[in-house]
């Protein structure tokens, strides 16, 4: 009864997205199993980011041919959501959140305040409680601040909490973006090239943190990476995207042996390997 497909936390089947003729995503299907760090790899322009944009509701998929399911586990029980056509903010509130390839934080806020935007259903976010009920939201706010400080500490960027987000380095921006997502208490993190443009030392640290999140917090991860060697060592499951289609899937050993994958990456410049 307990087979693998019963244990999925995310499942997207037959996703299409065209840009005026360019078939950016062309029938891709991806499944993330509970507790398995899953990576989506593929050369530049293979449609990875577009796939993310579609499944998180930021872009409308082409036709109602496939489906997108997200499942949140609460203890032993779980709840499934059909998130096809759902607004991006609703999907985020369900517990499935994503970063963007080009890191997007709130530049005119401090690192700490960036974190405080995220918590869902804040009392003080309602207009009425906002100005009549400061007694009500201040307590919750204090708790959110504590949580934010703990997450910043975990990500090892607590020392820059008083800087504006526009003043911090690219690697710190990436960590802050992850931190902002953690503030929403997610169950599935979608990370779009979390270490692109980050120096190798910091990149290793970022991956360490991601694995730690998975191990100790039970947060599931779907990760986009364009350089395939980077993720091989710690991915439990890998999907290879080329020209909008999944050309291979399996664990790293299977993928490394796959000819089609090597061919897809042949067009890439050699320094990537």
């Amino acid at each position: 009864m307990e087979n693998e497909s019963d244990n999925f936390v995310f499942k997207a089947e037959n996703i299409h997205k065209y840009f005026s003729g360019v078939k950016a995503v062309n029938g891709a299907s991806v499944v993330v199993q509970k507790g398995k760090l899953t990576s989506l790899i593929g050369p530049n322009g293979s449609g990875k980011s577009t796939f993310f944009n579609v499944i998180t509701g930021f872009l409308k998929p082409e036709l109602k041919s496939g489906n997108i399911l997200f499942r949140r586990f609460r203890g032993k029980r779980s709840e499934s959501y059909d998130i096809w056509g759902m607004a991006p903010e609703s999907i985020a509130l369900k517990g499935m959140v994503r970063t963007f390839q080009h890191t997007r934080n709130f530049p005119d806020m401090t690192v700490l305040e960036n974190m405080l935007v995220s918590p869902p259903r804040q009392i003080g976010e309602s207009l009425i409680w906002g100005f009549l009920g400061s007694p009500l939201w201040k307590r919750q706010e204090a708790q959110n601040i504590v949580k934010a400080l703990e997450i910043l500490d975990f990500l090892e960027i607590a020392h820059i909490m008083n800087n504006l987000a526009s003043e911090i380095s690219g690697g710190q921006q990436k960590l802050l973006a992850i931190g902002r997502l953690l503030m929403t208490s997610p169950s599935l993190l979608l990370l779009d090239e979390p270490v692109a443009g980050v120096n190798p030392t910091l990149a290793n640290k970022v991956f360490d943190k991601i694995i730690e999140l998975k191990e100790s917090q039970g947060i599931d991860i779907l990760l986009i990476e364009h350089n395939m060697d980077v993720v091989m060592s710690f991915s439990d499951q890998i999907f290879v995207l080329a020209e909008g289609q999944v050309i291979a899937e399996g664990d790293s050993a299977t993928i490394q042996k796959n000819r089609k994958v090597l061919d897809a990456y042949l067009g890439e410049s050699p320094d990537e390997a």
Binding site: T56, F58, G75, A87, E89, A92, L93, V97, T99, F100, R104, D108, M109, T110, L112, E113, L116, V117, S118, P120, R121, Q122, I123, E125, S126, L127, W129, G130, F131, L132, P135, L136, W137, K138, R139, Q140, A142, Q143, I145, V146, K147, L149, E150, D153, F154, A158, H159, I160, M161, N162, N163, L164, R180, L181, M183, T184, S185, L213, Q217, I219
Partner: protein, 565 residues
């Protein structure tokens, strides 16, 4: 025990920060130079024998207050929400027109005033629709068109007054018989009682303020030795509620005074509100209320009362000092000014509270990067609807006040020039800073008023005799040059946005007890009960559980429900 450990952790984390949060940077030099120069040009004609009457002062202050309110409203859209509304004047017009249409159809003036704000707010919601589809620059163009359409529509509709518009009667005019003095009015209305009361309260407050020994009874300082576990977190909260309440009382006084609808006696309203205030003070000192739990007065609260009282005293004293000759104009100008300044204070307090609340923070988040705000689950539509409705509600209120001040409502009184003036105010004062918006309105209005008075200098003769040009048009040139200089040299304005708010957050952390189970107030308990009925469980599980990022409130409550079965 757990809390102590947690506090230690939090303190350790805070200690890691490289910098201390920076406080607000104000361009004081600019503020002083600009303010000084303009104030000089305002006073100069008066000194040199221009028309030095009270009317001129009240007139100018009223205009400043009204425009300060309007620029606060515009600042909320442009500075905090990030939506460039270039049709602001349309919403001011909607407010004014709805007011006069309601009044003309027999609705009470106070209600009409409120409806005017609501109508303008509803128009703001309609404006949300293009804002969702268009980029900011296109949105700006659409709003100019909306403003002009409103004007043209009104101009061609006889039911809406056509191009001639409406006259706006001041409610205060029918209140005072034309041959009594202000002083007589106060005495006639038995108001010596409130004056005595106010004086007594002031003396009392001054007394405890001077004597720290006595003040200990009333003021409970936050525990500094154990910064994260203070037992009386709720104190500041109730205090805040009371401060808000006091301010609302203040506006009630002013509004009732203005409309004179409290038993025909404007001063009766003061008596009433002081009475309420005293009763409240009594109860909160002696009894446990759900809302007003027994707590000790804190200084901020006292300060608010003092300001409130001073405001009333101020209105009295000036009535004594300046002989009121022609009641129909001077007195109504006077009350118009008090009303405008009063509504401005309330609006400032409300808008500042909103901006500092999580609502305001998410508003700024949408301004900074809307995609990113959506990606953490915030609704763009919701925030734009609420933000535009709220800011334009204030535009509606101040639109009515402007109509009072101008004395009439005509379509040609609502040209886009006013919108651009408001933009200049917030650019010079500082966008995304409420004090800046008010200061900008102060400077630019003063400049305009001074310019219109400068012509008087020609009558003085001597060196001024040679001044032979139109000062009003000249002031437009000056404002234009000032604007360009600001855009080049100080694009953030005199009061730049305070981007770093961390000081406030860390202070909050120190003030509020984190032990929610222990000191959860009745207010919070009652509300969490009602909110959990309504399906919102965010109240229920607020205790901290260390490093559990995934901690989900729903999970806990569903487990809880399981146990119940």
């Amino acid at each position: 025990m757990i809390n102590e450990k947690l506090n230690q952790t939090v303190e350790d984390i805070i200690a890691k920060a490289e910098y201390n949060p920076k406080s607000q940077t104000v361009n004081y030099t600019l503020a002083i130079i600009m303010g000084g120069l303009i104030f000089l040009s305002f006073v100069l004609p008066l000194v040199f024998g221009g028309s030095t009457n009270l009317d001129y002062f009240t007139f100018t202050i009223t205009f400043i207050a009204i425009f300060a309110g309007l620029s606060l409203s515009l600042n909320m859209e442009v500075g905090f929400l990030g939506l460039p509304n270039f049709g602001k004047i349309g919403f001011i017009a909607v407010g004014a027109y709805s007011y006069i249409l309601f009044v003309n159809s027999g609705v009470n003036e106070i209600l009409s005033f409120i409806f005017a704000g609501i109508s303008a707010g509803v128009f703001g919601i309609i404006l949300t629709l293009p804002s969702l589809r268009l980029k900011e620059d296109y949105f700006a163009i659409v709003t100019i068109v909306v403003g002009e359409i409103i004007r043209e529509t009104v101009r061609n509709q006889h039911q809406l007054g056509g191009f001639e518009g409406f006259a706006v009667p001041l409610p205060i005019d029918r209140l005072y018989p034309s041959n009594t003095t202000f002083l007589q009015n106060i005495l006639l209305n038995n108001n010596s009682i409130s004056i005595i009361l106010i004086t007594l309260i002031l003396i009392f407050l001054y007394f405890i303020y001077l004597n720290q020994k006595y003040s200990k009874i009333y003021a409970v300082p936050y525990s500094i030795s154990e910064p994260f576990v203070t037992k009386g977190g709720i104190q500041e909260e109730v205090e805040n509620g009371l401060i808000n309440f006091t301010i609302f009382l203040g506006i009630i006084v002013i509004v009732l005074n203005f409309f004179g609808s409290f038993g025909g006696s404007p001063n009766g309203a003061i008596d009433l509100s002081i009475l309420i205030l005293l009763i409240l003070l009594f109860f909160q000192r002696n009894y446990k209320f759900a809302l007003l739990r027994k707590y000790d007065i804190h200084w901020d609260f006292l300060k608010t009362i003092i300001v409130f009282m001073l405001y009333i005293i101020f209105s009295y004293v000036l009535g004594f000092v300046f002989p009121v000759n022609s009641l129909s104009t001077t007195l109504s100008n006077w009350y118009n000014m008090l009303l405008a300044v009063g509504v401005l204070l309330i609006s400032y307090k409300l808008i500042e509270d909103i901006v500092k609340s999580p609502f305001g923070r998410t508003m700024r988040a949408f301004r900074d990067d809307d995609t990113s705000a959506i990606s953490v689950g915030k609704s763009l539509l919701g925030y734009r609807i609420k933000g535009l409705a709220l800011s334009n509600m204030f535009a509606g209120f101040f639109g009515v006040l402007l109509a009072y001040q101008v004395g009439s409502i005509t379509p040609d009184g609502y040209t886009p020039t006013t919108t651009f003036t408001l933009y200049i105010m917030i650019i010079v004062g500082g966008t995304a800073n409420n004090i800046g918006a008010i200061f900008g309105a102060f400077l630019i209005q003063l400049l305009f008023q001074a310019a219109s008075k400068m012509g008087d200098l020609q009558n003085v003769g001597g060196i001024f005799a040679g001044l032979r040009f139109d000062f009003v048009n000249f002031s437009l040139i000056v404002v234009g040059v000032v604007l360009i200089l600001f855009l080049i040299f100080a694009p953030e304005g005199i009061f730049p946005e305070q981007k770093n708010q961390n000081e406030r957050y860390l202070k909050l952390l120190k003030q509020l007890s984190l032990d929610t189970e222990g000191s959860k107030s009745y207010l919070v308990r009652i509300l969490s009960f009602f909110m959990s009925i309504a399906g919102d469980n965010s109240f229920r599980h607020q205790n901290l559980r260390g490093l559990e990022f995934t901690e989900n409130t729903d999970e806990k409550s569903s487990n809880y429900e399981e146990e119940m079965k």
